[in-house]
Symmetry: C2
Subunit: 93 residues, 2 copies
Amino acid sequence: MAERTTSKKHDEFVRERMEDKAATELAGIGEKGGEQLAALGFATAKQVLGQFLVMGEDPDVFGDWLQQNVSKLNSKHRGDLIFCLQEWIKRNL
Amino acid sequence: MAERTTSKKHDEFVRERMEDKAATELAGIGEKGGEQLAALGFATAKQVLGQFLVMGEDPDVFGDWLQQNVSKLNSKHRGDLIFCLQEWIKRNL
């Protein structure tokens, strides 16, 4: 599999602890997506991680949930977010 | 605040990564509670952590959810589980 290209935002996020970072510090989540997520009760990166974990880290299930609930994230945003969470988990959890 | 007494199970859990540990490796979760949690879709420690994170790490909200859904956990079990998750988060997340 070809290595996925990652953003500076991704690289910075995955090498640190999450602690109290906002959801918008995750790769793929900008201001508008962050507002929608916060309105759903997911203001922090830890809460977004929690939702991914509850869904068994299944990218399809989580991606569908995002698509249905966070319209400001397009398919590239969703992919960037999922990959960021997966890499953080691989390194830390 | 007096320091809380912790079990060997707690101490072992909080000092390691979660990776693919079963929910029953968390302090407070025995065989019966683990079976109930698995039936609800929370078979792994990571999924239980996810539910706690989604609930904003609020011990009251999470404790109420446990009380309503996982009858095999008594109040001591719930307290042990919450403290185990809190300490793991403080050290790792």
